[in-house]
Symmetry: D4
Amino acid sequence: MKKQAVLDILKAVESGSLSADDALTRLKLEPIDDMGFAKVDRHRELRQGASEVIYGEGKTPEHMIKIAKSLISDGQSPVLITRLSPENADIIKKELALTYDERSHVGIVGEIPPADGKGYIVVATGGTTDIPVAEEAALTAEAMGNKVERLYDVGVSGIHRLLAHADIIMNARCIVAVAGMEGALPSVIGGLADCPVIAVPTSVGYGAAFGGVAALLSMLNSCASGLSVVNIDNGFGAGYLASMINHI
Amino acid sequence: MKKQAVLDILKAVESGSLSADDALTRLKLEPIDDMGFAKVDRHRELRQGASEVIYGEGKTPEHMIKIAKSLISDGQSPVLITRLSPENADIIKKELALTYDERSHVGIVGEIPPADGKGYIVVATGGTTDIPVAEEAALTAEAMGNKVERLYDVGVSGIHRLLAHADIIMNARCIVAVAGMEGALPSVIGGLADCPVIAVPTSVGYGAAFGGVAALLSMLNSCASGLSVVNIDNGFGAGYLASMINHI
Amino acid sequence: MKKQAVLDILKAVESGSLSADDALTRLKLEPIDDMGFAKVDRHRELRQGASEVIYGEGKTPEHMIKIAKSLISDGQSPVLITRLSPENADIIKKELALTYDERSHVGIVGEIPPADGKGYIVVATGGTTDIPVAEEAALTAEAMGNKVERLYDVGVSGIHRLLAHADIIMNARCIVAVAGMEGALPSVIGGLADCPVIAVPTSVGYGAAFGGVAALLSMLNSCASGLSVVNIDNGFGAGYLASMINHI
Amino acid sequence: MKKQAVLDILKAVESGSLSADDALTRLKLEPIDDMGFAKVDRHRELRQGASEVIYGEGKTPEHMIKIAKSLISDGQSPVLITRLSPENADIIKKELALTYDERSHVGIVGEIPPADGKGYIVVATGGTTDIPVAEEAALTAEAMGNKVERLYDVGVSGIHRLLAHADIIMNARCIVAVAGMEGALPSVIGGLADCPVIAVPTSVGYGAAFGGVAALLSMLNSCASGLSVVNIDNGFGAGYLASMINHI
Amino acid sequence: MKKQAVLDILKAVESGSLSADDALTRLKLEPIDDMGFAKVDRHRELRQGASEVIYGEGKTPEHMIKIAKSLISDGQSPVLITRLSPENADIIKKELALTYDERSHVGIVGEIPPADGKGYIVVATGGTTDIPVAEEAALTAEAMGNKVERLYDVGVSGIHRLLAHADIIMNARCIVAVAGMEGALPSVIGGLADCPVIAVPTSVGYGAAFGGVAALLSMLNSCASGLSVVNIDNGFGAGYLASMINHI
Amino acid sequence: MKKQAVLDILKAVESGSLSADDALTRLKLEPIDDMGFAKVDRHRELRQGASEVIYGEGKTPEHMIKIAKSLISDGQSPVLITRLSPENADIIKKELALTYDERSHVGIVGEIPPADGKGYIVVATGGTTDIPVAEEAALTAEAMGNKVERLYDVGVSGIHRLLAHADIIMNARCIVAVAGMEGALPSVIGGLADCPVIAVPTSVGYGAAFGGVAALLSMLNSCASGLSVVNIDNGFGAGYLASMINHI
Amino acid sequence: MKKQAVLDILKAVESGSLSADDALTRLKLEPIDDMGFAKVDRHRELRQGASEVIYGEGKTPEHMIKIAKSLISDGQSPVLITRLSPENADIIKKELALTYDERSHVGIVGEIPPADGKGYIVVATGGTTDIPVAEEAALTAEAMGNKVERLYDVGVSGIHRLLAHADIIMNARCIVAVAGMEGALPSVIGGLADCPVIAVPTSVGYGAAFGGVAALLSMLNSCASGLSVVNIDNGFGAGYLASMINHI
Amino acid sequence: MKKQAVLDILKAVESGSLSADDALTRLKLEPIDDMGFAKVDRHRELRQGASEVIYGEGKTPEHMIKIAKSLISDGQSPVLITRLSPENADIIKKELALTYDERSHVGIVGEIPPADGKGYIVVATGGTTDIPVAEEAALTAEAMGNKVERLYDVGVSGIHRLLAHADIIMNARCIVAVAGMEGALPSVIGGLADCPVIAVPTSVGYGAAFGGVAALLSMLNSCASGLSVVNIDNGFGAGYLASMINHI
């Protein structure tokens, strides 16, 4: 549509109904929007094919239903909704085919697509309390067409639990390592794996965990190579990036 | 020139030598650069008329001489150099008519222009040790065509010193209030003045001053209206903004 | 009245009913209050003409009604109430002609005055969740007699959305840029605009957003010129300062 | 009593009923308790005459009633209870002659004693929201036998309000200056006054006030002489210290 | 003089040479300065009688000599110079009768006055490395006419060292407790003493001492009554306040 | 069992039913799990004999009952559950012989074993509000077979209370020192005792206590030897370590 | 070799010269090392083929020469040395064919390999002072076989500079975005690009930049998808990860 | 001696040469010192037998020689000096038989005693740059009579290096785990070991390592049981505590 608007101006010049100078003026008035948007738009379309995401926090269920329906009518499937409260999920379910995961507060409208990434993504956690964030990552990746291997509760203070799964780690295409408290899991995984490791600190812990800061700092200072970090509790961001890497 | 490039494309469409579709493609390849740049460029020219500034930290004197000469040949006068070390000032002086202020590490190549702002700017400090930052603000403002009234060492723990100059404060068009340690000066000035007050925390102090953080927080929490804050020791930013307000 | 009190003392000296020495004593007993207050008072009157503001947090509705009535009887219109809870708004509505904005928790008693500023103020936000703070700024500015252009949800991670409105930005007299999370919006706007930019960090975000600290630091460190910062979520302060600049 | 216990041991040695070696053993078993306690005890008695205080947070009303009765039976009057919730105050009122201040959450069992300090104590606040903490200080001081002058809402962004009361400030024996947000009040008062100023930061404010940290840092960095600081919201500590200074 | 200026205006009104209205105008132009200054000025004279202090950091020796000579010619003795570098001390010594303490960087021009306080001040330290700050406090107090008892290296991890001096502590009129690292000394002293305790955190320590922050926080949270805190390493502030309390 | 699996592979090689190369492959597929686990497993068995602990936070009562039953059927007694809410305790009580401590939120299924450590453990607190954390430590230690001496409310601002119990401190095998606010207790105890002191900061306090950070920093900077620190409010960790030291 | 050791044990069992039980014992003594190491070892070999890196900080030139020679004799080329001081570079140059980059303190022994990644990597910076960190990333990536496009000084406060290169950004396979101060560059790039963006905060800036913390927080809170963050100034880590992604 | 002093007083009472009342007075004058000191003194003697330590930072070599000679004449051997600069070591060597370790800045006067602990202590580090702190711990432990096993450079990002030494870890009596950067080593070791683990964060790292804070937080939040933490870079404290545990 926007692309069309630019094309219309150019066609008008081509047809002689608009002078080049006037076209310049019109383009200057909103040139970047038109062309920029068009550019980003197609790029958005590409991404939307994978998954346009609704960030559910602070949105009303009515608002989310409207956006979701619009996306669906544009042909997108599935529609992912993150940070969706159980109450809002119940309301949305009445109107749309929503699958809702209580632990991660992730809702998915429509079917999970078949996995079309080049390999599989590992999502690992240090403890059981990190699972909600991990599931946000895992479900995001699955909704974007990835095979996900879950390795939960393999924290470093019982290193054998992690090593027991060394093979799965060593053959992954990308790993999302989720940990709260001391946040050491990504470092150990980064030392075992050959692929990019996305570290997700969680706000799990108490006292000097400072709501995930201890884990965050630990991860930023990891001496393992190939490791990078996203925001505290940002499972979605990690899952999205992992999918991007798995689809390159 | 850049505008010309866009116009050329449009002319080519107008003349029929380029189809609308091909024009769209070419515009899409670098539309934002061309038009955006042109737009911002002219806008830059306007600002350069006032004063293009060289941030001296980390630049070699040779580099600064080259930039300054280029600006001068573009017709700019004066050229302001901030955060200029005395050693580099000595080297630049050999090639250019540089006036150098040792306290604030500000250098000015060329003449200070006559003040053409709508009023005058007050630059006030809490103590004598805040003067280097204050002079960076004052000289920046003067180099950009402003009359500056200096009120130094009028800190709040001797409130009579400040009140003695209440008239100067009440008639200013914009005030730059510079303070380290407890950083309370801008709050008191903000309560006296009717005009915008730009608060500049300085890194003056020791112990729990934390390099200006105490003053910064104090200023951000001021209950005086019309007050805003710039970075610690950012005299230049405050002087620049004050000049902008004084020239509106 | 206070001015009158000082004048009364002086008149009494003039008429001979009070000696100069006794007058000095009386003035010394409360000289600053009397004269200082008088001075500030007139200055307050000027400001009150624009808008005397009630900070609603922690005040009872009865208290606010009383203050508002007193201001109205002094001829002020409108009366702005910030940080007003919906519950208290309901109570006030029973007694006064209050217009209440649920998003920003701003209440306005009386009519918005016609815009008499010299230009218009842009209020921009990075995301939709920043809108409550932005509306506090926008409504404050409008209540103080300013035309406000709203540019909401033009965050930097989709830069085309912002650039589409470059013209509105470039012609503003003052811009309030509101952003949480990474807080980058004011920097980009500051690079496009020629006028003062007031940056407002919001507490929007999670994890390492630290309740607005990430955005605050980002804004304080902006390398854009003409930019200053107010406290986290301080929409009122930004709107007030913007109005001040727009009325200079 | 305790002193008696030590004396008893020594008397037993004197009378020959206990050998010096055995006495050493017994003294070694609990010598510090006995003598130390005795020493501190008498010193405690002195203080209890002024006021033994019950910190109400986390104590059950039954527990507080028991302690208060025990103190009263020891002859103490009044008994001060700080951080007492309204609910617990209601329960205590059924058993004891409690006067309760809702703003400061201070309860006083018994009569306020006549003021016997050497001068008067000023308790000043920057804003109205600081009053609960100020009242904790003021009531503590009054319960300990001090005359208190209250100067509320004399914050530095309207300096004339403070200066109007300069005389009261200049003649005080000790000043408690309570302020949140930018916390500048104690600095200004410290510049006016000749007596010790006890600065109390409050958790009043939002955003970069960080629950009182901004005010705390501001106060610690004050360049006013004769100023010291207590913990955030610690009105009791300030009132207690002020009373101590006023009774020296 | 200033008072005279106000009186002159009033006399002129009295004599009829100035109308009351014109007097109001003139007083309004600089009323606060005139009267405020006069008031504070006399108050300053009182304090100068005790000791006007030169803060030596960042001042040239020539500057300090000039100030000191001016103070001496005003009749002040001794003149205290804090934070004076050994190099500058050497230069000053050539012109003035300076006694210099290398540990605390305190210089005193002239004779220490006889102690005229009402009791004695204890200055105590946790370790030997806290002594420079303690000496700044002790010498300040001595220069202002106080008897000082030094209790150095009585840190709490060897509590018997402190208890051995319990009598000196219990009979003091004011105590300055100086400690770095864990900063626990003031708490223990506060539990033993009946008088005001001024806690001075020092920047002594490493790692999580954070340049005195650990000690500062420890002191602010002390549950001992009668305790207040000054800035990290602020020996002068503590000594000044202790003298004030000892002279009340 | 796991050890058995490895042995089975080796036996198969020994018997000739598996070639060395094939054995290598199978071992490589999951060697670490098998052998690592076996190793750690036996080591776990040893620890389980003492006490396998359930961290109750975030677990459903059904889940906890299941784990506890499994541990009991493995022969473990007692089973310790930490951070158990009263509500969940009530549910568990219906199925298991749970003793629940309301203050510390510790539940114990089964009988406390007889104390078999080499000495006794002292658990001391600075105030009464630290008792919940102290009890978590004490009950953990008791459930793991230790004699515990409780010294509660012996904070350093009334040092005689602590010194009265010097003998108990001096003869302990390990001491857990629990304190909030200024956190000075472990330092003083560390100076009196010869044995390891485990310092536990608590989140008790307000204002600059920062949820236990002040106490934590104080403890980390203690100059007492033989002292180490665990996380804020981590009574369990301290009790566990104390038991470990008492059983060496 | 290590694998061989395990095989030897198994062969000995196979041949009957070692019993299964004894084999278990021997494997238990160092099983993880042998097999784990072997596993990781081969995996290390794979990585070494790309580039074994020497972290130069704190290593003597002699030590580095030794390691480099060993790596070269193992067939590795080139050998990358990061954080290499100019002095040490001079010493190493005498023994090895070292190319040294003064800006980034990166040394490369041997030839840069031909680029064999699947696309190209963009390394972008906000300012010129970020270039040393950017070059560490770029040279690391080049030494590991990647084509690198440098986009320096394209900071967001002059957005047209960045947009002028939108095509290069949109076609990259991975982008390293390096920025100090407000750190907004990665967010804007993340909104334009389809590929993973690795954000590198730099310690460039002053005042509230806090040595890179402001930029770090800004990047962690970016709302752009596909973005992750490495440690402050960690150009090497970003270059390494970018190469990993470009070689997947 | 001190005990003698108390006994002398008591004997004098016993013999009738001192009345009980007079004895009380004398005991009250310095009771705590005498008895407390005596008590602590003997306890000190016990410790001195093991090792009286000189903290070398901030002490002159002359001072240290004097203390060391006094300790030697008291029969102590060896004398440990920590944080001793190479320059001061050279001076001390001229007078005393000092062995000096350049890496850890530890000096030992006299012979290392034979190991008489009950087991051995492991000192492990994450990287080679942590070795100075580790050696401070190891040499302290050796000087106090312990066998020390060093496991250096076994960081968690190459977990096989650590696991290769699992046996040494599993049989230790106490482990000192030293790590900077992400500080994850103690967690992994704590999961493998049965004995107390003393975690020592080091200031090794850059950027978000914050001088050891990241490692410190990581260690405090470890979910491994039996782990406690000392101050950043406090190798001495860890070695001392490890020796204490090994000698229980």
